[in-house]
Amino acid sequence: MWSATERRRPVEWLQFGLGALIVAAMFYPTVWMVLSAFKSNREIFRDPFGLPDEWRWSNFSEAWAQGGLGGLYVNSMIVTLVAVTLAVGCATAAAFAFSRLEFPGRRWLYRLLLIGLLLPPPVVAIPLFGILRDLGLLNTLWALILPGAAWSLSLTVFVMYGYFNSVRPDMEEAALLEGASTWQIFRDISVPMVWPSMLTMAIVNTINIWNELMFALLFITDDDKRTLPVGLIRFFGRYSTDYAMVFAALTITTVPILALYFLLQRHVIAGLSSTAMD
């Protein structure tokens, strides 16, 4: 009988080689972006593949100042932080209510909340514009925070509800017998219990809201209230012939996020795959 390990060896090398080749091709545009950010316009055109002759760090400070990237970063951070906190907080409380408590309309209210899973946000862009204007929120960061949080609720409630239902309510029932109020149970027992899922959903929603484009394009008109995705498009529109500058801006806006991702890789991937699971 042949030995499985002996026979598998060359196949495994083939698997590794093929995988490495495809991954390298997929990752190359990102590398190319970073390398080009250090070059001059002439050099990008003359030698697109090579390392920069001279590492021009000044491209970055120039792009940072010209594009007002600092302000864009701050706005994106405010919007993402507030919207994600709001979405995960509200969704956890709602999932707790749907899973652990009884009240009139529980089932159909839960179903209603899931509508957002099937409908894409472009469907409401226009009426939402009118509503935000009537509320006086147009052209404020709230115009991105509140709809952003609201459109994250369906998925977050769905996942949190599933998580609540997969954990037996023994601890909560014990606390109830000891005379704790529903609010105390939620705060002191349920939230610590579902904390890992809340973090997962915070990561998923952060990626979505940080990258949101359409609402940010339609509901914000002042330059100083823009977020990164729109700011980047406008920067590209203004400097579309100054390649080095655009590559520098792209690198500044993506590399910190990529670095954060490679640090938290395990959590991000676990989070994203859990949302698509049953």
Binding site: V23, T30, F103, L213
Partner: protein, 298 residues
Amino acid sequence: MSEVEGKRLATGRINLLFALPALTLFGLFVLLPIGSSVWFAFTKWNGFTTPEAVGFDNFRRAFRDTVHLWSYVNVTLYILGTLVLEVMFGLVIAVLLNSDRFGFGLMRGMFFSPMILSMTAAGVLWTFVLDYRLGLLNAVLESVGREEWTRPWLSESATALIAIMVVSGWRFAGFYMIIFFAALRRIPRNIYEAATLDGAGPVRQFFTITLPLLRASMMTCILLAVTGGFAGFDLFFTLTNGGPFNATEVPATWIIRQGFDNNQLGYATALTVILAVVVLAVALLFLRISERVNVVRY
């Protein structure tokens, strides 16, 4: 989904308070706009005057608007393309990179990394990759002596939509790879060992063991790709904004152009209602089919 339908901690109207913040937020910014779009869709409205009821005019116009009708053809082609370049490619890579050996974890991480970039960053980056003069793709073609293949990928009608599919595949394949990878990990090893003992090769094992066991994930992925595809906006907006000559116009870009560039908010709202009905119909039909084969359960 495993459900622990135990006894409830508390009953009574007061418990609604826990769900109230979420319901308020959802009602105000999701349900209210959906509801009011049904009214706006039947009006003529430029955003400044009061909407004026015009009956079914907007819908009659929508079905005569050739660009609008073509946008559904384009988005269907796009979705078919993404099923290959995102879902199938993701599955192949998930199988290829399914190993515990050194280096495979990093390769999975790198393959997934485009998902972390915003669509706009990905779009701007790929505008340069596909650029006619200094684009990476044309530079590669020239360096391997295929100069006659170089072209302005995004500004030729024949290639623009395909180019967008490729960019979309580049960005999303990692997402589907991760879903399939997580499912692959739940397939017990000994099934493969038994198949190897029975003399089945890796290809045969893929088709007789892996694929059938991945059916639930496959259904989820297809649903995500189809509903997500209909809503596609960001990449189209960044790469071509519907051009050249409406060759990459999809429902979302056409809606935004009608609504906010041409100030025809009533007509654009009618288009969103049509889009919503189409997406809901496709999603429900899909869920009905997959429920019948007992895979996706809500």
